[in-house]
Amino acid sequence: MQANDEVSLQVAAGSVHAIVGENGAGKSTLMSVLYGFHTADRGTIEVDGRPVQIRNPHEAIALGIGMVHQHFMLVEPFSALDNVLLGAEPHVLLHRAEAELRKRLYALMLSTGLKVDLDATVADLPVGDRQRLEILKALVRGARILILDEPTAVLTPQETETLFGVLERLAAQGTTILLITHKLKEVMRLAKRVTVMRGGRVVHETDVAQTSIEQLAAAMVGRKVAIGRDGMAARRGGEVRLRAAGLACQDALGVPRLQGVSLELRAGQIVGIAGVSGNGQSELLELLAGLRAPEAGTLELAGRRFGAAQWLDPHTARELGLAHVPEDRQARAMVMDFAAWESAALGYEDRADVSSGAGWVQRSALRRATAALMERFDVRPRNAELRCRQFSGGNQQKLVLARELSRGPKVLLVGQPTRGVDIGAIEFIYGQLRQLRDAGCALLVVSSELDEILALADRVLVMHAGRIVGELPVAQCDEQKLGLMMAGEVAA
């Protein structure tokens, strides 16, 4: 699969150029090539009109290209100053190196407006400061081209404003800024030119002054062909099986990941959650499956009520008829080194068909059951003795689905149902999910592929920055509305 196909990009010096697109659009790959993490198969890169080769990050830095990643590369117990110092120390003796760098940094901070307490320990710094530190690191090493990958994902609104001020100042001083984002408001505010990518290609490029958010949103999302939808009517849904209210949670750095999320899952209906990855969908799935507890919020499932203090756990969830197909197949859904028939028991090891009351595992019964499941779900090769890691991604996913579906769940949570799955299996999986829905199960599907959501869902919820920003029956979904919601605009 081509991550980037004939991508051409021209960025004017001293300007802010935005690159927008959904997941898998190819923006991250493009930036990786520019920063030397990957090499392009074809094509050229020119910096300041000179063709260059970028084989690794050090060469990129030497060319004046600096990158601010989403996940910061900072040593927590060290001071901010030492973090900038590392690798670029002007002197063997630390106190001299620190003194010299401090002078340079103060000058930089004055001219750019970036303010960080150099003597603070990074562990004590809030996220916004850490990001500014990363930018300083890049600038001190002489970066004149700055690539920022989804910089506002972790910032509060105030911190975002501060960042915008800094970026505007930097651009005014001649630094070229490449901004990767899916938040169209930022694009309209900061950028001079914008490139829209989709499916690894550039689909649109224009001056920001000559476009609008609506146009960009439509370009970003494009015209989706819903696989196998064929005008299938959306289901209304019966009783409420799961009700979540006011869910809120934070990550390890205290950044809120979910805020005030409420939803209902009804029997015989598929709810799809659309949105760019990283907007809280993973956290939502983990909360509903009992893998983590929220800071606030309640959950009602099968007549039982759970609050933040006494949250659901995975075992109870399964007993109450909730099944979960996790997003992370390798680390969560199966034990890679177990045989297929062993992973088939994962989460259900105390069921009567898996182990006896005394605790003996019913090996032959389990093997037979797994073989039957593999037959039904067309898992290849049909060998239940193989280790899970020996199956292809698609077959692994089928094994996981087989396990969860075969338990006749009342509620099924699915994360990225067809990630890494080949075309042939995708249709099969969709069919299984629809069958389950028709049998009366309440399903929640989270996917970063919008076509998938449109193909499967009866109701579509869009998440952005940890909130549900819109809810639509699938029949009313169109590219523009969805694109705007995903980009953080307009609540429908």
Binding site: P57, I61, M73, E76, L86, E89, V92, L94, H95, A97
Partner: protein, 316 residues
């Protein structure tokens, strides 16, 4: 207070603490760079053997210490080969080094000297002598005997505490070493070689273990005796942890453990006010108990370097 008693206890404390301190500083350098070092015991043992063998056979103090350090450095590099270059399990490698050292020192000792594993006594000319033999007479048991009457390695060990501190906290190398033990990925992204830093730390580690082993044979005993380290390497490990991976902390911990050792025998049969008679075993166990209590978080927190035990695998 009886000056002679205090003097002897203090002198004894310093003598016991010296090999502990050298090993603890060695372990500290390695672990701050992210490499667990269970093999301190084995390295000290092999170094002691080398010092004993070389001292007896070659009759030179410098060569004895040099060979001891060389052998310990080789073992550290072996540890590096398994763990840094090849992502092996660091604890298993340390255990292997201890076993290899225990066996090989005996095999070589018996083969070369035929005295049941012991090396022949090293002559007084080669052994380390107190720098100022007349200290005790001149300045009394406390200042003379206990503080100024030691051999060069004792003072070297004491001097190494500020030296290691300075290296770790005041030089570029030291900062990079500490960084590689906290977030190796960041160091790599900054363009500094992670394996090179770790091997450098391991080399220094080997040198210090070599000094520790030399001390056992050239200052404390007069020859290498089978299994003479008797768990001191592990006690040094405990001291390093008790000192929270900091050179000054390790120093105080080694002094404490040395003090406990010096005092253990003397307290036999003596009733302490309020506690009664303390069994020798209880005092001998105290360093280990204290370390466990510290690790359990009951007397403050001991936070290990974040990368400790994790082999560095380049991503991308």
């Amino acid at each position: 207070m009886d000056e002679v008693l205090v003097g002897t206890v203090l002198a004894s404390t310093l003598r016991v603490a010296t090999p502990l301190l050298l090993c603890a500083l060695a372990g500290l350098l390695s672990e701050r760079a992210g490499v667990i070092d269970i093999g301190l015991e084995g390295k000290m043992l092999f170094a002691a053997f080398a010092a004993g063998a070389a001292g007896a056979a070659l009759g030179s103090t410098v060569l004895a210490i040099g060979l001891a350090c060389g052998v310990a450095v080789l073992l550290s590099w072996l540890h590096g080969l398994a763990c840094v270059s090849h992502r092996g399990d660091q604890v298993v490698s340390g255990v292997a080094i201890n076993l290899i050292a225990a066996g090989l020192t005996m095999v070589l000792g018996i083969a070369w000297f035929r005295q049941g594993g012991q090396t022949p006594p090293v002559s007084d000319a080669v052994r380390l002598q107190p720098l100022w033999p007349g200290a005790s007479e001149a300045l009394g048991p406390l200042f003379g005997g206990a503080l100024l009457g030691h051999d060069v390695l004792v003072y070297a060990a004491l001097a190494l505490v500020p030296a290691v501190w300075w290296l770790l906290y005041r030089t570029r190398f030291g900062m990079r070493l500490r960084a590689v033990g906290e977030k190796a990925q960041m160091v790599d992204a900054a363009g500094v070689s992670v394996p090179r830093l770790r091997y450098a730390a391991l080399t220094l580690n080997g040198l210090l273990c070599g000094l520790a082993g030399s001390y056992l044979v050239l200052a404390q005993n007069a020859s290498f005796v089978p299994h003479m380290t008797a768990g001191r390497g592990f006690m040094a490990l405990a001291a390093m942890i008790f000192g929270k991976w900091h050179p000054v902390g390790a120093f105080w911990a080694c002094l404490l453990f040395g003090f406990l050792d010096a005092v253990a025998i003397r307290l036999q049969g003596v009733a302490l006010p309020g506690i009664g008679e303390v069994p020798v075993a209880a005092i001998q166990a105290l360093p280990y108990v204290l370390t466990v209590v510290l690790l359990a978080g009951f007397i403050g927190r001991a936070v290990a370097p974040a990368e400790l035990g994790r082999p560095y695998v380049k991503e991308h």
